[in-house]
Symmetry: D3
Subunit: 256 residues, 6 copies
């Protein structure tokens, strides 16, 4: 039994845990989306969950079971919907799902919820779900919600170490060095190092087209090279990200 | 890497796998719901996932990541919403979620999908989600969907073995002998044997009340005694259930 | 003018009636669904309405006009959607309809509402509609709602009398002895006794398939034989059902 | 058994009836709404149903069970929501309900559907429901739908006879001479002649206010006097309305 | 900068303006819909906006930016959806849009909102949007909303002047004398006087058909002749309409 | 009459224009949102519309009337919902609105649509609306849609000229140099130069909090200084942006 996993707790233990008004529940949100020939379809959900558990271990938080599906993959940040295996939700579905879960946590008496996303495309539908939950619980609820994308906690200093030749930007990091390195640390058996894509970063025009211009996207599905990914880089980023998320949670929910 | 877990496959491998027109994708659906003082909140999702993987191992199916949240707990089959930790979805959210995922699998070219539920309250919203997905993919789609609740595959003969003193019925089995036995096999570390509830089965009137009459429900959250649960009984049921589900899938999707 | 029919009351009389805080409003919910070659498509709505009026006569309740349409027919309990005439609602439509009506009754000041369903497939969408109505009226509303399926009020003793050769279960009773007998009492002109189906009860596998496996379902649309149905059996069940529903309403809403 | 009532037909008979490509299904739509101190809350549904059956008798049409609830009552045409007993649907609920029913009829193979409304406020949500049904069945469906409000079939000549002192307009006719006269013919027992309101017609400003300005509305709930209503006037209008609706249906669906 | 246009105000000025509890915000709602060969597609939005600004100038109200799209055009009042350029919203979209905007104004602290529509088909979806907004802000909100269609403020006396040969009714006035005259005053450059349609008024049966019977509608798109339209008539109506709307607003929101 | 404004065209002219299969319809989308003490609440809609018209003038496109309201303002890119005047839509409303409009344009026969947004928060709900429209029109529709945010067409070179001391990033540019400069060119009368905020750029943590941490946001509502904004800079950016958007439209829709 993992003390931080909400789905591993009995209701009796959960009830005891949430007596603490400072208790924080983390809700990991991922996706089921192509991540190149070397990373598994579940990469985002696996990372959202793993990062949440690492954070929870530091501050005694509870991790809700992950939302395993995310918003529709876009060419510029996820490669697009045309890759087999990418299994996405409508925006309203993801927002409703987020809303329902958060409103239920608030109904239990939880005051502090953090939505931990690992899929770029989720952000705005999570934001909407949080807003709808707040509307449902009403203006007198003590509920406060943090929404975060884990990569935003990597500092410039670290990015310089990870990308000695220059950081291509988070959007192009889909299935590239950051995700591959973190997966190498957390789930090494799920990374096919022999399939690591090594092509130049994708170059996109300053607009989007629907239906997808599939020729814009590298056929590997990765948006830039994953070469140079290592478990060591993964640890470096994971340590920084989880420490800083833990600090942010403490600041906003406990000390704040 | 588990070959049956869709979230462990790369898109390249997934694409290869679904070239087989007989391939079946299983979608496990659980809940986050109180399961007495001895079973974890995630019992239904854990069992839906575990049963799906056992089935998949027998017939080479693919298991999608689970839907970890289910429909609102009802007193007569899940104890009700008033237990802390029970975290449920609106009916329309669950139906939309099911619809979106199935429609996406169909878009990939998958023809055979089985929705494997381990939470009694899910059934009708899964059914609606399947129907909405079929409306979305249109009448010419080759998509066929099976929806099942795993316990329906336990034979009378086995029930007689498991319940030598008489079977109380599946609804009252919430957090009782069947679920506890199966959890003892699959996830023994998550069962608190020292907390096994031993009270008479709940007795309900032939109607439901909203708001919940909480005094109808045993304070443990279990609806009948979990005493007598053993890992051996778990194996017995799991073997039967998974073998018979595998046979049903073969019959409907491959031989049929 | 029938004093129990809400649609027969003027608003002035209705206003007077609901001054009584103990007044109960019954909302009958049926379906428009095939019921074999011998029973009319409106069987469920007709029975829901008739049972509600019989109950109302006993306790001075008010019966709202029926919801004449229900959720999609399923092969195992209603024969399935493929029979001409079966005219069903989406789950969200039925839930919204139920929600709106109950919330309006609560707005009038009614505290006690009972949803009386005669269509197996309705249950969960009625449940959701009730929950959404309770969300809309807010936690301070005195509204209490009972939801019932009338057949659950038939006792074992009576079932033994009705089915001397053994009761096949409520699901298989679609268009069979129970419904035919009750229709013979309430609406004898609508029963075509010369068309009574006499085939063995349907046998279903422990799962559902979409699209419907129509060959699972007897071509008559009845799921077991209606032979042996009589008006006398109808009376026996109706007396028991309505007396016991009346008692339940008194217990929960008046004495409770 | 009434041959025109769909809910009185077995599925077998219904199937036979709809083999005729000219068959027309009428869907009556009413409301549950105050109709003054002299008419019952169900007036609109009762009239929609009665008119539909009179029409069906003339042309061999089928009448679906009525939608017994309608859109929210407005002060200027129905008195407003503040009268006890007025039990209304959200616009989206009524549109969805209409959509689902029509799409189901089309699925059966019915080509000709007429929505017969007796509640002024319903019109636009019925129109939307019809449009959504047409979107659902797709551009290749042979489905054609007529939507009508029965009073529009009363000719000027007849109005002059009914209102020798001048016709106040249909909106102000709520619970007044037209409806009372028709109810006196169809349902004389439901009209409380001793309660007939006799006040001047309501006078409204050229705008609406929300919340309702209840002082705009006569306290009786009728918008103009029902004095002068007679069963004879009822017959006169009913004959004209039903004959002309029948002619319209023939023209559009059979001869057209 | 136009002091009445909300989109021309800074938030600082807006905040100052709404300190006045009597301040009124007008929300113009139009459509993008064919208006004959002589009036532009945006006629309704242009007029709704212009009338609102004229009113605002008289009473110091604020005009929100217009909703530029409206509900689906109907043959009898707008010609129907089959004319190129008619670009319409689903009913639920228009209701949600109206609801969201009004609820936001109420959140700012605005108590008095008037929805000014210039498109006949909008009325009921605006009404629903207003009702949904009132549900969202809750029963304790001081929000009051007026909904109006500007043409209802033209008096009989004026109509007699405008239509010396008899007024065909507002529905048939689509793209005819009233709208053309008002456009000639407000937007003379947008009226193609050389294209003024001069055909008899359309004659419609007392029902509607879906799909649209396009042959019912004059091929020009106007429902009656625009001949006789002049800027002078426009001024006459505009003066009356805006003066009377201003008076109504004062009466309901300030003096009332 | 402006030949590019769709709301200024008659349906006859519009019909002629869209005979050209290369014709492009631009849909401007803005917001009603605080833009500091110096820019009006309608800045985003005004700019979206102005940029669209400038583009249209270059390539003979048609500009639909703008969507004047946008998604909820976020602290990090728009200051947040707490500023009076910010009037925002739910995500589902904006997506439905976008969907309906695009599907209608496709119904007219338009093949090429570009959604031109000037409000950062809109992006994902526009994307969803486009996807829902594509689902509605079906896979055989020739419809293609571009979605763009105008600022993405400003080149690095130009940014260096505009921000000689370094570019703070587009998110922090809310109500700052870019928007102010463009407004100074297009709508100089709407800019209050005497109110230009001159504070350091806001500094945000790498996460979001709900409810909004209002102390994160400069009290002016601008996220960085607007000092240095000039009409000349506005022209420079506008020329570049509109020329490059025109080129992109030509490439994708005409030459491509």
């Amino acid at each position: 039994m993992d003390n931080s996993r909400m789905d591993h707790l009995t209701w009796v233990t959960y009830e005891q845990r949430i007596q603490d008004p400072n208790v924080i529940v983390l809700l990991p949100v991922g996706a089921l989306e192509q991540h190149g020939p070397h990373l598994p379809l579940g990469t985002d959900a696996l990372l959202a969950n793993a990062v949440s558990q690492s954070v929870a271990a530091q501050i005694g938080a509870i991790v809700a079971p992950p939302i395993n599906f995310g918003y529709k993959s876009q060419p510029k940040c996820g490669g697009g919907q045309h890759f087999p295996g990418t299994t996405s939700l409508d925006g309203s579905t993801l927002a409703s799902l987020t809303c329902d879960i958060i409103a239920e946590l608030a109904r239990h008496g939880v005051r502090n919820v953090a939505v931990v996303s690992a899929h770029y495309e989720n952000q705005w539908f999570l934001t909407e779900g949080i807003d709808l939950a707040r509307r449902r619980v009403g203006p007198n609820s003590p509920l406060r919600v943090m929404r975060l994308e884990y990569w935003d906690f990597i500092t410039e200093t670290t990015l310089e170490k990870i990308f000695p030749e220059g950081f291509p930007g988070f959007a192009l990091e889909h299935a590239a060095v950051i995700e591959t390195s973190m997966m190498l640390h957390y789930f090494p058996d799920l990374v096919r190092l022999d399939q690591l894509p090594e092509h130049p970063a994708a170059v996109f025009p300053p607009y989007d087209m629907y239906p997808t211009c599939t020729h814009w996207v590298p056929s590997s599905g990765a948006l830039s090279s994953a070469k140079g990914a290592t478990a060591e880089k993964g640890v470096l980023m994971i340590d920084e990200v989880t420490t800083r998320i833990a600090a942010a949670l403490r600041k906003e929910f406990i000390d704040g």
